[in-house]
């Protein structure tokens, strides 16, 4: 049930994003980026990105269309966050590997499998073709 919902939601997300992408690539891009005017060969490359992050595409499209883009925001790298991200990233890697090694089940070489019950596995023949 949950799996079916997730698959359907993903399909719906990509369908909506693809439709928005087609409109953006065909019409919107010329309105907000002068470097795109007269350039068509690169546009199909944008469709997958539009399908995946379409809410962000709509938001940025609106910001640029409405003249709300602020130039200082283009020159502010994520420098403050970088140290924290790097340290959390660096610590997470060995922590996850150790967790994986901890739960790894290794049988002793001398281990001999034992039959625990006499229950017979029911074999079903493949359907005759």
């Amino acid at each position: 049930m949950t799996a079916a919902f997730l698959v359907s939601a993903t399909q719906a997300w990509l369908l909506i994003g693809s439709l928005i992408g087609i409109v953006f690539v065909a019409v919107g891009i010329d309105r907000i980026d002068e470097d795109a005017r007269g350039a068509y060969a690169f546009r199909p490359l944008l469709l997958l990105g539009c399908a995946l992050i379409w809410p962000l595409v709509l938001w940025r499209w609106w910001i640029l269309e409405s003249g709300r883009d602020k130039w200082p925001n283009r020159h502010k790298p994520h420098r403050a966050a970088h140290f924290t991200v790097a340290i959390v990233f660096a610590i997470s890697i060995p922590a996850i590997i150790i967790a994986g090694l901890t739960v790894k089940q290794v049988w002793p070489e001398s281990f001999v499998p034992q039959k625990l019950s006499n229950h017979e596995i029911e074999h079903r023949d493949a359907d005759p073709v």
Binding site: A4, L52, H75, V103, Q105
Partner: protein, 354 residues
């Protein structure tokens, strides 16, 4: 650079970079598929589909490992900067290799389910409450999704459209993708692996990436920890003019966490933002040739007097006002709008100062 967008801006360096990258991928896959089948067998031989899936999956892991080593290596030693130049093509190819891995997995493990195979992928193991037998597939799905977003937004259009700041924020997903891949392998193949070669390479790769990021972060931290020295009018002290070398910059930080690159060029001082308009690369690490500084990351150029790229390109970065007090260089922390011309300040010669 700017002007009109084209699908890929090829140049000889990119051809060489991609040729080496593709040759390495083919060599890895060939070795994996032809030389190591015996090591992968369990009680019985693994079949071709599983073998292919493991070849492409492990190849994607090592490619992502290399990608994540390039950034910190370039920050620690500038000789690694050429590897950074075409890293986006490397990333797109990694996504393609990871996607091929996923196709092989779907085409074998889930191809014979009576249910929809994508639904089968999600419901075949739901032991989320325990580490032993944890459904490691979910980590692979998340990592692949991250890689696809990174690849799909790799064209320069996205940088300009989203702004470098938002684009970089999205591309931080590469860290989430790598952590997810580490979990995918730790709770997946590592639980099953019977020889020691892959686990050793896997652990060494992960720890190597981890160590490089810590070293690079500490180096950056040392710069950011330095105190900001201001005068009575809040202008920020940069350095003594005698410490500067013609054609190069001194980078200093401002109170708002911005960095400014102050250049000495033919006896005159100019200052621009240290963040390139393309990907916020460190302009202060570039050298000036004919009034133009070249970003060490991707080769974008700017006139240090007005922060503009030479025609026909249209990129611009903010400029800053400077002043000389005695032999000390100070910068106004308030940036001028990108492309604003600022008259360079002449540095008195030793004869004039004496």
């Amino acid at each position: 650079m700017s002007v009109k967008y084209i699908p890929v801006q090829w140049n000889p360096n990119k051809w060489k970079y991609n040729a080496v990258m593709l040759a390495s991928i083919f060599a890895y896959l060939w070795i994996f598929l032809e030389w190591v089948p015996g090591q992968l067998d369990h009680e019985g031989r693994i079949n071709g589909a599983i073998h292919n899936a493991r070849a492409f999956g492990s190849c994607a892991f090592f490619m992502l490992t290399v990608i994540l080593c390039i950034g910190p290596l370039a920050r620690l030693d500038q000789r690694f900067l050429p590897l950074l130049y075409n890293r986006r093509h490397f990333g797109v190819m990694t996504s393609a290799v990871a996607l091929t891995h996923a196709f092989y997995i779907m085409g074998w493990y889930y191809a014979f389910s009576p249910s929809n195979q994508y639904e089968a992928l999600l419901f075949s193991n739901t032991s989320y409450g325990q580490l032993v037998g944890f459904p490691f597939e979910v980590f692979g799905i998340f990592a692949l999704l991250c890689l696809l977003i990174l690849a799909a937004t790799s064209h320069d259009f996205w940088l300009k459209f989203l702004t470098p700041r938002i684009w970089k924020g999205i591309h931080y997903l590469v860290y989430a993708a790598y952590i997810s891949v580490i979990a995918h392998l730790s709770f997946g193949i590592l639980q099953d692996q019977q020889d020691n070669v892959f686990p050793a390479l896997f652990i060494a790769s992960g720890l190597g990436v981890s160590a490089l990021h810590i070293m690079a972060a500490i180096k950056e931290r040392a710069f950011d920890k330095g105190a900001i020295d201001t005068d009575s009018s809040k202008w920020v002290r940069v350095c003594e003019v005698t410490d500067m070398e013609d054609g190069f910059a001194k980078v200093t930080k401002l109170g708002n966490k911005e960095r400014v690159a102050v250049y000495l060029m033919e006896g005159k001082l100019s200052a621009i933002s240290n963040a390139c308009a393309h990907q916020n690369g460190p302009l202060g690490e570039g050298k000036i040739i004919d009034c133009l500084v070249t970003c060490p990351w991707h080769g974008f150029q700017y006139d240090v007097r007005d922060g503009r790229s030479p025609a026909p390109f249209t990129e611009m970065v903010p400029t800053y006002k400077l002043k000389l007090k005695g032999g000390t260089v100070y910068v106004d922390p308030d940036a001028n709008p990108p492309g604003t011309y600022v008259e360079p300040i002449e540095v008195p010669t030793k004869k004039e100062t004496s």
